[in-house]
Structures are given as structure tokens and as C-alpha cells.
Amino acid sequence: MNSIVGNSKSKSMVEKSAQVIFTVCAFFAVLAVVSITAYMILSGTPALSQVGIAELLFGTVWKPTAAEPSYGILYVILTSIVGTTMAIVLGVPIGVFTAIFLAETASKRLAAIVRPAIELLAGIPSVIYGLLGIMLLCPAMYKLEQVIFADSSTHQFTGGANLLSAVLVLAIMILPTVINISESALRSVPSSLKAASLAMGASEIQTIFKVILPAAKSGIVTAIVLGVGRAIGEAMAISLVSGSSVNAPFPFNSVRFLTTALVSEMGYASDLHRQVLFTIGLVLFAFIMFINLGLTRILKGGAKHE
């Protein structure tokens, strides 16, 4: 019926409907983002007015199930910010250096070993990172904790499930993202820049760090921003590694991230507690949207320079 020799009326009908169907498909993404935003705001705001914005966002006492419940999520927010920052500080240098290795210094044969390894790292499910965190990282962290706090009488021992363990897991998990984006940024630097620098007598390393890296800056910033997004949104890998109580984000404290609070409490929370968890979801969503918008701005700025 839609052969090229069909009659023109049915043909134009088919053509029209094909176009309409594809247009509808394309708008599905818009619909999804709009409804997610609407639902996050609708379900996240009631608690804000019930508990009070200041008390909720800046309160430091999290006792949702106590007889006199208190819903302060400041430490949860701070934990996500501090934890993500620490993971970025640890992960980005390793990631960028590995990207330099892949894009500049590695021989073809070496790069052919490292690149698939990074692709595989990206494909490993986050729960497996969490499992290994519990089995390998936490015991080591517990030993370290026992040494450091041997004389402390106030420290609450966490059995190794603390902010630092979660940060290490996050730093590892953002590596593939940071490496991939940085590598393509480094590769897109025009080879004439490199050639010019080498011809002026700069060494290979000088060229990399003083010419190529600055030229790839906007791409590397993109990599970092995506890494931040990945780290702040990760839930399952760190939910059992970061501990189970809400505390100020110090390295050896048992902490809760925005994401892990959702994972571990949504299952049993009810009423106001549940609504506060949706507020936590909204805060996380706000962070992510902020990061996304920042990212588009960076990408636009980068495009202008080129």
C-alpha cells in the first residue's frame, strides 16, 4: 500500500501519518522531562511548608522516627557536596592523566589494552562496586580507623562504612566518564598546536601540559561536570559503604548522602518522613538540573571560542 507506484492519496496519507508519529516520538523526551520536573516539585514541596524551609534545609538533627521527630537535612546535603568534591579531587587527576596516556603518550598497542579496560569499568553495575567496597574497602578502612582513633573516647566506630570509603568508591566510579570525555577533548586539539610547540623546542611533556591541556580546557571542564553529575547521583554503590546514620561529613564519620538517604529510608518511611524524603529527592534533582544547565552554558562558551 505504500509502494512507490501506489495512488497518490493513500501515499500522502501514509506520509503524513509517518511524520506525525515521528514528531510525537520526539516530543516524548520533552514530555518526560516536564512531567519528572513537575512530579519532583509537587511531591517535594509539601514537606517544606510543613516542617519549615529553614528548619528542614538548615536543621542538623535528623530523627524522623523519634517520638518528637526532627527533620533537618543539612548534614545530608553537606555530605553529598563534600563527598562529591572529594571524589572529584581524587578521581579527576587520575582520569585526566589516563586520558593523556591514551591520547598522547601511549603506543597503539598499550592503548589497545587500556581503552577496553576502561570501557569494561564503565559497564560494571554499580551494585558490584558496592559489594567490593563492603568486602575490600570497609575492612581496610576499619583497621585504619582503629589505628587513628585508638586513644579517642568520643569517636563512634563505623566498622569502616564511612565517608572516606564512599568517596573512594565514587572516585573510582567517575573514572570512565572523566577519561572518555577528556580523551576526546585532548584528541580534538588541532595537531598544528602540538607541532608548533614541539618545533619551538618544548619537550613532549611540556607540550602536553602547557599547550594541549589548556587548549582542551573546555572539554575537560565538561568531563569534570559530568563526573560531578555521576558522583552526586550515585546511590546503590555507596548506600552500604557510607554508613547508616546522619552525621557531619568528616572522613571517618558514618554519613548519609542525598541518594543513600532515599535508598535506605524510602522503603519504610511514611507520612511526613516520606514527604521529607521527597524533598531530599527534590534537592538532588535541583543539584542535577543546576549542573546540567551549567554544562550547556560551558558547551556553548566552548563552541564560541573555537
Partner: protein, 290 residues
């Protein structure tokens, strides 16, 4: 200054930085080897016929993941059935129909945004919207709908990339001999873009298999096999935990043997998916050269 320009100047900082670069790369390799090695060493001994083909039984005191494997398959199939047409259609619109402008930018921006939203947010949204508003509760369908939103950008983007590699001459050729647009898309573009679309689908399968946060509050955690034949049909309206969910639950109950068994199965799937996408993209490259 007694150094000649013929002597190579030795810069200690160069060696330090170069050492760091190699160290960073070695770290990634070591990490992968350690993860794979540890999971396989602890996990492979757990994988038995019974582990793969039965559901856990408290009477016999045995553990198996057949129910979780079935749930995972259900979710993969349903998600892809919905997401593939939507994603491919969206890519066709963006690449073939839309004229560059505000609309395209809006769609591309939202697709980009969708891919940046963390899975736990999808989980919350799916729980409230599909689970409560649409009254699907904790069910495989809720989980599949939620994951559809999540993998949509992946399929759209891969299809778009594939469509972009189809030479313009194919399009003008087909249109020039009188083919209508949809006929041209159906018979020329889609077949040429097929390897790219399939790569997208395989990557999506990988994403679904590894996903946990978006499923915990949508698909639930049931691990039993349906008892009757019709149970296999109604299963999609019932709760069903995938392998990753079972892995998470096992490890939060400190049943590490079971957890490592599942982890090893998951890693094998990850390896297979990685291999398949490699093979496909290699094939794809060859067709580009022709």
C-alpha cells in the same frame, strides 16, 4: 651556561609527570583486573546448575536466581519494546524531518537532560507516577516504564549517530527516483543505520541489566518463579526483582556468597555485551569505508 643545543636538556619534572601518567593508566588496568579477579574467584564456585535454574527455597534451604533471571528478561523485553520505537522515531524526526531551530534544540536539550538525571530520581518518579498515579504498584510493568524513560536518550542518540553516517547521496538518490520520504526512510535509511541502532539496543540491555536504583522502588524485589502457566502472563503486573536488586538485597543481608554468585553472572553478561558492541561497531566501520 655550558649546555649545547645538541644536548638534550634533562627535566626532572618531565620524568615525574610521565611516571604519573603511566601510573594513572596502570591504576585503571589494575582496578579492572582486581575487580574481575576478585568477583570471579569468589563468585564462580557459587554458580551451579541449581543456582541458575531454581528460585530460593526455604524448605530445602537452597538459593537460586532463576526468578530474578526471568524478571530481568521480562524487564529487558518490555522496556525495549517500548523504548526502541520511541527512540528510533525520535531520532528519525530530529535527523530527517525537523528543521534546525528552537524546537530541535528543545528536544535535544531535554534528551540530554534525561540522560543526566540519576537513576534514583527515575526510581522516585516511577514509583509516584506509574506506581501510585497509574496504580501499577510495585510491578515489572512499573519498572519497565521507568527504565524506558531512562534508556530513551541512549537509543535516540545512537540512532541519530547512525543516521548521520548514512551518506546524503543515498537520500537524494532515493528521493530523486521518486520514492516518498517515508519509503526512503524505511527502505534505505533504516537498513543502513541498523548496526548503529542495534548497538544502541545492546548498550541499553547492558544499562538495564546493571540498573538497580531505578528498580528498587518500582519493580520491587520478588524472587519467586510463577507457579502456573498463566502466572507467566500476569507476572508483568506483579513485583519482580532483577538480578542486581537480588544482589543488593543479598549483600545488605550479609549473604555474600549469593551476592558474589550473582555478581559473577552479571560480569559475564557485561563481558558479552561489551564484546557484541565491539563486533558490531567494527562491522559498522567497514560499511562506512565501502
Amino acid at each position: 651556561m655550558n649546555s649545547s643545543i645538541y644536548d638534550k636538556k634533562i627535566r626532572p619534572s618531565d620524568y615525574v609527570l610521565k611516571g604519573l601518567i603511566y601510573l594513572a593508566a596502570a591504576f585503571s588496568i589494575a582496578l579492572l583486573v582486581a575487580i574481575m579477579g576478585y568477583v570471579f574467584v569468589r563468585g564462580i564456585p557459587q554458580i551451579t546448575w541449581q543456582f541458575l535454574t531454581t528460585a530460593p527455597s526455604t524448605i530445602k534451604g537452597t538459593f537460586g536466581i532463576a526468578g530474578n533471571i526471568l524478571n530481568t528478561l521480562y524487564i529487558i523485553v518490555i522496556t525495549l519494546l517500548i523504548a526502541t520505537p520511541l527512540g528510533v522515531g525520535s531520532a528519525i524526526y530530529l535527523n530527517e524531518y525537523a528543521k534546525p531551530g528552537r524546537l530541535v534544540r528543545l528536544i535535544e536539550f531535554t534528551t540530554e537532560t534525561l540522560s543526566g538525571i540519576p537513576s534514583i530520581i527515575f526510581g522516585l518518579f516511577g514509583m509516584v507516577f506509574f506506581g501510585q498515579s497509574l496504580r501499577l504498584g510495585y510491578s515489572i510493568l512499573t519498572g519497565a516504564f521507568t527504565l524506558t524513560l531512562m534508556i530513551l536518550p541512549l537509543i535516540t542518540r545512537n540512532t541519530q549517530e547512525a543516521l548521520k553516517t548514512v551518506p546524503l547521496s543515498y537520500r537524494s538518490g532515493a528521493l530523486g527516483i521518486g520514492a516518498t520520504k517515508w519509503y526512503m526512510i524505511r527502505t534505505i535509511l533504516l537498513p543502513s543505520a541498523m548496526p548503529g541502532i542495534i548497538t544502541g539496543i545492546i548498550l541499553a540491555i547492558g544499562r538495564i541489566v546493571g540498573e538497580s536504583a531505578a528498580l528498587l522502588f518500582t519493580a520491587g524485589s520478588s524472587y519467586l518463579l510463577p507457579r502456573t502457566a498463566s502466572g507467566y502472563l500476569t507476572k508483568i503486573l506483579e513485583s519482580g526483582g532483577t538480578m542486581t536488586i537480588q544482589l543488593y538485597l543479598s549483600m545488605s543481608k550479609a549473604q555474600y556468597d549469593a551476592a558474589f554468585g550473582i555478581a559473577a553472572v552479571l560480569l559475564v553478561i557485561v563481558l558479552i555485551i561489551n564484546f557484541l558492541t565491539k563486533v558490531l561497531s567494527r562491522k559498522f566501520d567497514v560499511s562506512k569505508i565501502d
